[in-house]
């Protein structure tokens, strides 16, 4: 098999698991094999080693690689799986399968516009760092419900040409949708831009239509409930169109999670 498809299934020791405020958490695990080959936008399937009746692992974007061997994930505790992860302690282990899926393409010589909504900001600390290594300093647009739900602000600020924030209740940055900030900047100069987005469904729909209106390429990190994360259950369909115009289902885990906005139907 080509090196790029290599994946590892590790029992990864947890070194840190902290609440960032509200339902937002950050967890770091030792997984050097995965950390060494991971690319931004890829994800891992994770689960606490012992998790009772909850069997399936859950997909999480790799939020950062620290010291070359720690994997960091940022997550919100919403249901049974994420709650169990939030209760895991350092010294315990996570089952961690990865790195999985494709990654955000770095388009040299372009202006990168990075758009994150809610926990959809998760892949961008990692991606922005890699962009910086290519001497690309992105405009980062980050939308959240309120000021309390903003995470990674300092790091994103450092890794961006400019970081623009929007909140639903106006408690920080622009009062309104993050896509309004994106649209305003594209209005001023659309040329050579590439959009990278990850966030809730409604946000992704607006990003797709903005990209089409301004004629700029956009890469969307899509979400669908996953059973396996590796293409063996056929359980994570993303409705889309083939190059010859037929409707189809792509698999979020294997064909994605990142898709050009032109191929997905959302």
């Amino acid at each position: 098999m080509p090196f790029m498809f290599k994946k590892f299934d590790l029992l990864a020791p947890i070194v840190e698991n902290i609440c960032l405020g509200g339902k937002y958490y950050r967890i770091r695990v030792e997984a050097p094999q995965i950390a060494k080959i991971a690319r931004p936008g890829q994800f891992c399937m994770i689960r606490p080693q012992y998790s009772g009746e909850s069997l399936l692992r859950r997909p999480f974007s790799i939020a950062a690689v620290r010291d070359g061997e720690l994997l960091e994930f940022a997550y919100t505790a919403i249901g049974v799986g994420t709650r169990l992860i939030s209760q895991s302690l350092p010294g315990q282990h996570l089952l961690c399968l990865g790195p999985l899926g494709n990654s955000f393409p770095v388009v040299e010589g372009s202006r990168a516009l990075v758009v994150g909504g809610g926990i959809g900001i998760a892949p961008f600390p990692f991606f922005n760092r890699v962009l910086n290594q290519h001497r690309i300093f992105p405009n980062t647009y980050y939308g959240a419900r309120s000021a309390e739900e903003l995470i990674y602000i300092e790091e994103l600020n450092q890794l961006s040409h400019i970081l623009k924030i929007a909140t639903d209740n106006g408690s920080a940055g622009h009062h309104g949708f993050v896509t309004q900030l994106l649209e305003k900047d594209l209005d001023e100069s659309p040329s050579d831009s590439v959009i990278y987005a990850c966030g809730p469904g409604p946000m992704m729909r607006v990003v797709k239509s903005i990209a089409e209106r301004y004629g700029v390429p956009a890469y969307l990190s899509m979400e669908e409930t996953m059973g396996c994360g590796v293409g063996i259950c056929i359980g994570c369909p993303i409705p889309g169109v083939t190059p010859d115009g037929q409707t189809t289902y792509y698999l979020c885990c294997k064909d994605g999670p990142i898709f050009p906005s032109t191929v997905v139907m959302i």
Binding site: L95, I232, G235, I238
Partner: protein, 305 residues
């Protein structure tokens, strides 16, 4: 001590009783950088239909207590693409390869099975008459003794490979269905497929699965599967392949004691992708430890009380 792990299922011999279940291991090639396929007894393909099939809309997966619901809708690349694109790669491995077939009509079942005529690397045809996730075919055949008979007969006539009928647990009398499958020419029986089920999102009052209903699998269904394997293997002289919630060594032993000559691992692959190869190793260690020379001596070893 080097225990003999091989099992015989009629004309089919497996080097060990661990197979991967249809729909739970992709086309067999997805995990080759994570595990050594050569360790397995065999693999069963995703259900294949005559033409490529698109499957049901999202969501297709939902986790429930000790199990999961799925409604994939038999999305698959079709039998032709399987033969051209997957089988040549799979053929490099020294394992049994079972093609699982499905159709909407008797004719489609037969035509799909017929495509494997003379295809040497296909060791058996498993007939899916038990999937609850399609409007036609699948479980519609497997819950009716007469249709079961007819579809197995049609496949048997169309193929030169051993035929395995894969049975549905969604019936009142599993033995009656199993009998008609054997009357129709089934050389083996595999059971069970998933239990027909429903999950509701109480926030919005809608079904969670895009197809409304789905099939329940995983450890939650193991006791049902064990009971059915036990009943059917006692009632009929054909080899039985057991599955339903197998996730560890003791599950395998229990299924064999209940009467299974081999087992298939389904849902466990999703959360523990190397489980099947590990089970082969553990089975070997278990036999050594318990001084069992031949694993086949466990088959049907359940004591009456």
């Amino acid at each position: 001590m080097n225990p003999d792990l091989s099992v015989r299922l009629g004309s089919l011999t497996l080097k060990n009783p661990i197979m991967t279940a249809s729909g739970c291991f992709g086309y067999g090639l997805e995990l080759i950088d994570l595990l050594d396929l050569n360790q397995l007894g065999g693999i069963v393909s995703k259900s294949l239909t005559l033409h490529k099939r698109m499957g049901t809309p999202p969501h297709r997966i939902f986790e429930t207590a000790s199990g999961m619901l799925n409604a994939i809708g038999i999305e698959n690349i079709g039998v032709e693409a399987y033969l051209n694109e997957k089988l040549p790669h799979l053929s490099r491995y020294d394992i049994a390869i079972v093609a699982n077939v499905m159709g909407n009509t008797l004719e489609e079942y037969a035509a799909t099975a017929a495509r494997f005529r003379g295809v040497r690397r296909i060791n058996a045809i498993e007939v899916n008459i038990s999937s609850p996730n399609t409007k036609k075919g699948g479980m519609h055949f497997g819950v009716d003794p007469e249709l079961t008979y007819q579809v197995i007969r049609a496949v048997k006539d169309a193929t030169d490979r051993p035929v395995i009928a894969k049975l549905s647990p969604n019936v009142t009398d599993i033995v009656q269905i199993a009998k008609r499958a054997v009357d129709g020419g089934a050389d083996m029986l595999s059971l069970i497929n998933t239990l027909w089920s429903l999950a509701i999102d109480h926030w919005n009052g809608k079904p969670i699965l895009g197809n409304v209903t789905g099939g329940l699998s995983g450890p939650a269904i193991k006791p049902v599967a064990l009971r059915m394997v036990h009943q059917v293997s006692r009632a009929l002289p054909v080899p039985v392949i057991g599955m339903g919630g197998i996730a560890n060594l003791f599950d395998v032993i229990e299924f064999m004691m209940a009467g299974a000559s081999a087992v298939q691992i389904g849902t466990a692959n999703f959360y523990d992708p190397t489980v099947s190869v590990r089970l082969v190793r553990e089975l070997r260690d278990y036999c050594s430890m318990r001084k069992i020379d031949r694993i086949s001596s466990l088959i049907g070893a359940l004591q009456s009380s």
